[in-house]
Symmetry: C2
């Protein structure tokens, strides 16, 4: 398939004369039945994705419409040789086409049984829609009549012909397609009809005449009637389309090599609409919803593929075929079984039956729900089709999330749609089902929730200040913001359903209502109305939709058991309450990797004591307030220890800046200004002023880099000391009850070894004191969060005083990038992810949000340095991640790669992490082979 | 000097029988006249600092009071051997003492000419005041009478005896010293006298009796009359004092090895108060104020050292000795000349003359002013005493700062003191002289300054919000805050005089006045009063003190010329205006390393256009505002280019967040709340509300990590484009005038290579456009600030699109530590530097402020990674520092070590940097030897 004297390299393939699928496939598999991924790759290189797929199917004994593929080398030669087709190529094509003609009993240009072919591009990497395709090639003024007679359908034949002329003229003759479109529209206007399907055979014949006249006018030649000339034109056009501007842009964008070239596949067209012995359909080898092993799909007798998709006729269930076309049904069953076995995964298959003959048009891995993914993977292993390791890699870890949440009952949803209760759809930002009364204000969400009311928080967009309203809400809806908007990220982190970017909602925050234009008219909602939101689909419903609990299948448990045996990484959970701890343990957590103590002070019964402590004017006053908090903290820790018996519990000492526990500065400024302007006097003003003074005193320009973490503990040591006292008193109480506890005290935000050494010295004294008083000894560890870049750089020093490192990747990402998490997303990060206009080209600054997917080049490099130098000082150092990344598969893979001991994530992410950790180990083993 | 069977190692030294200085010195120098620093070190190890110093002086032929030193090995043996003195030690001491006795013609315990000795500790490293010392040893009930007779001064003899008893009893017999003090106080009370000097010989005799009785009562023994027993007791006590708790604490604090041990020096006491042929004095070999080569000092005939120091008698100028004691004066001249030559630096010498015999008691390197340091160093080189390289290392670079600033005329200051105009002294936080009217409010400082008024800003303490008042003020005074307080740091950075922590000032900010208690009564000051402040001394004066301009000596220029030949680092300046650029160039800057464009928008004529740009509701409005700014920017750049002809000018594009150009959020909230409460209506309220909305929109929780730097440029590209247009139009205008310009455009805050690539692509298009329009080509570079940790980690990628890296060490330190520069200092950094109470011990978290002295372990390590990987990608990459650290000597040394191309600092720091860079190169060469 190569021109003589071409400068490009010849491969084994291009020595052959022609390239029918089966031959090509054999060339790559060298006789073996299985095809290696390497061979499959080479085949894609030579034949393009489409050609390779057809070759592979043919080779595995499946009946696909016959055809041939011109290898990519030919395209490279074509362009290298001033866009000349290699000598002898056309002769080879027509020679090989004879085999195709024989196989389908049709002939190119034949006046009785004309062969129609498609001519398609196909590169190594999929470039959907970028290059050109021509269908129905082989039609001319004579064969159209033959086709009409053969199909007994004149309208179909003439419709195909007018489409072919337009397509061929556009692609090959480079006549603007819009002009054909204009003629079509003019015709319909003249006839007073609306849709193409209303055109009669006679109308179409006229249109063909007009199309041909246009071609002649524009190109100076009549439309090519020679079918061989048609083939030549089409092949060259496909080659040329490799270098059209769309394709070049696409390759630049996706970093695809411009030198690869495209293959060309010429394939016989088959017709499911020939007669009642013909049909077309789509099927899955297993149920894509449930994973059950059961042929699943639809078909239509005497129809074309488009008819199934278009929904103009209602297709039949595939099972009905058993009675309507029993023989073909058996053949289909056998064929799809063969394909599933060949491709070793559930397949999504398009087929056509022409005159009782089954043709497979396409097969691909079938998309499936999370539940199906799990069942199919486990079943395939049990059926011996794939190995356990492969089964583990067949499920996207993040999919497991869906399975843990309650979901809406599908029937109930269908019914609601019938009642026009489905009023809007936004982005499915965080999966799960939620029902509640709508509120438009986070304060109100908090207030109503505290009274036991279930609420859905609706906002135009959310910001960190809304967090107190998101936490107690059942779910969140925003009108603006994408999948990485604040609401989406926060909600996913909490496993809380969220529909984001639902732009059809017209929200009036002041009047606390919203309206939406639906097909059944404008619907209005006001505060207190009940709605149901489906975070898995992005749908919003008026009223209540019935839900069903998460039902963890036996396959789910099996898969995770396999994962546990495969993974090397430990999995812990971030849990701040006994309830969270219990859930985490049920999901398989092997301890708590992060217990944030600040959340414990936020509840209504503790906040006053906390505020008293902060407002204290002396150490004594501060200590008095802390004395009130001590018993509460002790109970908190006791509950968590009990839930995590025999497992380690990492408790982080108080971390956030103190002003987070007080009213907002801007509110206080406004209040005081108003009171003064209105001449309010006395205690009311005085107290506000005192509060304002304190909050101003605590105010920081950049609180994220301010007085928090261990800095707080060093400046106000009484707080940490109280916490450590509570931890040890709780641990002792548990131990006395026979409950084994393993507290690990974590000192946050350490950036200098001296911070840790001093804090540790102070806290060890408290621990010793409490244990000596109780005459009980508790085994414990002291370690630190590694979340400040400097800690990574000086990890060797820090490891001297830390028994464990827990990477706080949220803060570490924040400081490594210098992106304030509270600001970046709304101010520039969203734009960085969407792309920035650069001299007219949209350029993405970041491929993914570093707060979601751990940035390996920057943050990851820093972590690696920390791990290596930390282990040098202390080889037994325990290493973990406790940022949001601990539950994100790609980040978990990285954690595994750099040799961490464990990751810690939110309880609902634990199954995800277990699976991701197993996959990480398998991939690393794969890589190391 | 070692007990038999001691386990510790023997050295060459301890094989000798005894250790007179001369012997010991010879042992180390092995005959050579010069002593190597290694030998000096060994000698300090064996003889301690004091003993080694005396030995060296003796060896260099100087007459010091004779004595002997017991080596440190003996102390180690003493402690290793259950606190037993090595066998035979005492015999050796008494044997060697004979030589001492012969040398001074006195004898221990002699009843005519009794020898008195001092017994002193002395370790390898100075531990001032930590161990014990005994003076006047050798006195007893009999020798005291002999001394009285010999000195013809009974009062002196008895006073010495009572002091000796108290000292010996405290140190050797471990009797609480306070009891002797109590007896002394009782005696004075009983006699009705106030000072010790009023006690008569008779009183002192009585007191000695009472002291002895106390000793007998407390110890059960009479006070030791045997002078040999006194020696034994004293030697053991000094050995014991090595392990007293003060000494151990001090060694822990200073990381001094506990095993070193102390030496003991027993030295004859000599008396300058013996008669009129005796004297005592202090002298410098050169003038410590000016550096002139001229013996400088004072002496007193018939006096003791204390008399000179105490100021009870007015000493004579040393030159008077020429006539009063011509022979001894000549000897002194010769001796100090010898010492200066031996120690190769200007010496500060204590001497005593006993009976026309000159004894040198101590010599040390003389402290000197900056001016003297420079002159002495250059003179010593020119005199051939030291080499050029050594001369360069003799001046502390930071000292040069003082020489660049105008200073107060000393006579004018003295006169003011006489008129009681000196009213307070604070910390000398930033050197220089400033005169102005006092204001208590930064806004007022700004307003008055803009009217040409010279003001001194007085604050209780300053914060970043005050910066607009500090910039235009002549000087700053604060009542609170230390040398690293905000005011101090900022003022030093600007070369602006500052007196900090002046706590005697009682400032009333609301009433805008202050009072201060002085010895001449309470003085009051109100806004507008003129004062003079001396930042070099911390003194404040009422009214005007005459100033004198900085007068750069020829030696100053010589030293810096030498430095320029020696250094490898380039030195640039941070300059934002043509004036700054000119000053920088005069001080030797080789270009501008940082031109901050934001300062250009802050002035009153530009701010409105800038605000208009920010408040713009559309791109068109924004562009219109930018069009107004363009010509102003062009003129700014032109001025700077002209000042920096032929030198590179690095211009940083707009960096700070936009809200910095608008009023403060808290002020707007307060204003709007007040207006609403007072029911203000109409345009006034509306405009405020619009402003509030915009400022709220721009508000960020952590602006340092928010929308600024290149992020701003990517989100609002028009700003950067306008700036680049201005730069190139200015450059073209200069070039047309024949002025060669080398613009380097610096893109700030890059953390990801794509930020730089995209910004660069956009800006290159603008540059090309402007150049093509003008048909002029300008050579330019584009580079980036490296100030985000991630940039360091991914420097290899970033270097692909950067022709230079300039380390923004301020921000890099900020993010590497996670210390918000605006908050850290006042919230916790000050405490970190002062020390944190840890279980009762004060522990420093940080040794130095990382915003002043570059943190090598963390920030430095990151920079090293960036340098190495940046150079790997682009070997010709230019590398600089443009943070505050660029003018700090230790940071400059680090910059040199890691191979940077240049440092850039404020214009007034350029000479400092030139010298520091030379020293860095010399030290590195030294290290590499």
């Amino acid at each position: 398939m190569v021109s003589p004297g071409s400068s490009t390299t010849k491969t084994d393939v291009d020595k052959k004369r022609a390239y029918l699928f089966a031959d090509a496939f054999k060339a790559f598999t060298e006789g073996g039945a299985e095809i290696s991924s390497e061979a499959r790759n080479k085949m894609r290189e030579a034949l393009g994705g489409k050609g390779a797929g057809l070759a592979e199917m043919t080779a595995s004994g499946v009946n696909v419409p016959p055809g041939l593929t011109i290898v990519t080398q030919c395209c490279r030669d074509y362009h290298a040789n001033k866009q000349q087709l290699p000598e002898g190529l056309l002769e080879q094509i027509f020679e090989e086409l004879k085999t195709v003609e024989a196989a389908v009993d049709r002939k190119l240009g034949d006046l009785e049984k004309p062969l129609l072919v498609s001519v398609r591009s196909g590169a190594k990497f999929s470039m959907p829609g970028m290059m050109d395709t021509i269908l129905n090639l082989g039609l001319n003024d004579l064969t159209v009549e033959a086709l009409a007679k053969l199909m007994n359908n004149g309208r179909f034949a003439w419709d195909s012909y007018r489409r072919f002329i337009a397509m061929y003229s556009g692609v090959v003759l480079e006549i603007n397609k819009d002009m054909f479109e204009d003629l079509l529209e003019d015709k319909k206007d003249a006839l007073g009809i609306k849709t193409d399907s209303d055109l009669t055979e006679a109308n179409l014949k006229e249109l063909v005449g007009e199309f041909k006249a246009l071609v002649e006018k524009k190109s100076g030649h009549v439309f090519p009637q020679d079918t061989k000339e048609q083939i030549k034109g089409a092949v060259e056009a496909v080659f040329r389309s490799w270098n059209n501007s769309r394709a070049i842009y696409y390759r630049n964008l996706n970093k695809i090599d411009h030198d690869l070239g495209t293959a060309v596949t010429i394939q016989a067209m088959v017709f499911g609409n020939l007669n009642d012995q013909s049909a077309t359909g789509v099927c899955f080898t297993r149920n894509p919803s449930t994973g059950e092993k059961d042929l699943y799909g639809e078909y239509l007798i005497n129809a074309q593929g488009e008819d199934v998709v278009a929904g103009t006729r209602t297709p039949n269930k595939i099972s009905q075929m058993k009675t309507e076309m029993p023989k073909v049904y058996d053949e289909l069953l056998e064929t799809v079984g063969k394909l599933e076995k060949h491709y070793r995964d559930m397949q999504d298959i398009e087929f056509t039956i022409e005159q009782n003959r089954l043709y497979i048009l396409q097969t691909r891995t079938g998309k499936r729900t999370a539940a199906a993914a799990v069942k199919v993977a486990v079943d395939l292993v049990n059926e011996g089709i794939i190995k356990k390791d492969e089964g583990l890699c067949r499920v996207e870890p993040m999919q497991l999330n869906q399975l843990l949440l309650p979901s809406f009952d599908l029937k109930s949803k269908e019914k609601a749609k019938g009642e026009s209760r489905h009023f809007a759809t936004g982005l499915n930002a965080s999966p799960g089902a939620a029902i509640g009364r709508i509120v438009f204000n986070p304060d109100e969400a908090e207030a109503l929730s505290s009274k036991g009311e279930k609420v859905i928080l609706i906002r135009i967009e959310t910001c960190p200040d809304d967090i107190h309203g998101i936490v107690p809400a059942q779910g969140v809806v925003t009108a603006r913001g994408g999948m990485t908007s604040h609401a989406a990220v926060v909600a996913r982190g909490m496993g809380k359903p969220c529909v984001a970017g639902c732009e059809v909602l017209k929200i009036n925050l002041e009047e606390e209502n919203m309206t939406v234009n639906t097909t059944s008219g404008v619907q209005s909602f006001k505060k207190g109305d009940t709605i149901s939101i489906d975070g898995s689909t992005g749908e919003l419903f008026k009223g209540i939709i019935a839900t069903q609990d998460a039902n963890l299948s036996p396959e789910f448990r099996t898969l995770l058991e396999w994962a546990d045996k495969t993974r090397k990484l430990g999995i812990r959970a971030n849990a701040d309450t006994p309830d969270d701890a219990r859930i985490a343990r049920e999901f398989g957590a092997e301890g708590i990797g992060l217990c944030r103590t600040e959340h414990m002070f936020m509840s209504q019964d503790r906040l006053p004591a906390m505020q008293e402590m902060i407002m204290a004017n002396s150490e004594d006053e501060r200590k008095a307030a802390l004395t009130k908090l001590l018993p509460m903290q002790r109970e908190d820790f006791k509950g968590i220890f009990l839930a995590m018996q025999n497992l380690p519990v990492t408790i982080r000492l108080l971390d956030p800046p103190l002003h987070e526990f007080l009213p907002k500065l801007s509110d206080l400024i406004s209040d005081v200004a108003t009171m003064r302007a209105k001449s309010v006097k006395g205690a009311e003003l005085r107290n506000k002023e005192i509060l304002l003074r304190k909050v101003s005193e605590l105010h920081e320009s950049n609180p994220m880099m301010g007085l928090r973490g261990c800095r707080l503990g060093l400046v106000y040591p009484e707080i940490n000391k109280m916490q450590v006292q509570a931890i040890f008193e709780a641990a002792i109480a548990c131990q006395k009850e026979g409950v084994n506890v393993e507290p690990e005290i974590m000192i946050p935000l350490v950036g200098h070894v001296e911070e840790l050494r001093i804090a540790r010295t102070e806290l060890e004294a408290v621990a010793k004191d409490v244990m000596e008083k109780a005459k009980v000894s508790i085994k414990y560890k002291i370690g630190t969060m590694i979340e400040v870049p400097r800690a990574c750089m000086t990890a060797d020093e820090i490891a001297e005083f830390a028994e464990f490192f827990s990477f706080g990747t949220n803060d570490l990402t924040q400081m490594t990038f210098g992106y304030s998490r509270d600001d970046a997303e709304s101010k520039f990060l969203q734009k960085y992810l969407e792309g920035i206009d650069c001299n007219g080209v949209k350029e993405k600054v970041l491929k993914s949000n570093p707060f979601e997917v751990l940035d390996r080049a920057g943050v990851g490099k820093m972590m690696k340095i920390a791990v290596e130098s930390g282990l040098k000082t202390r080889p037994e150092l325990k290493l973990g991640i406790c940022g949001e990344h601990g539950g994100e598969p790609s980040s978990i893979a990285f954690a595994h790669q750099i040799g961490l001991t464990y990751v810690s994530c939110s309880p609902y992410r634990v199954p995800v992490a277990r699976l991701a950790a197993a996959q990480a180990n398998l991939n690393l083993e794969e890589r190391d082979k």
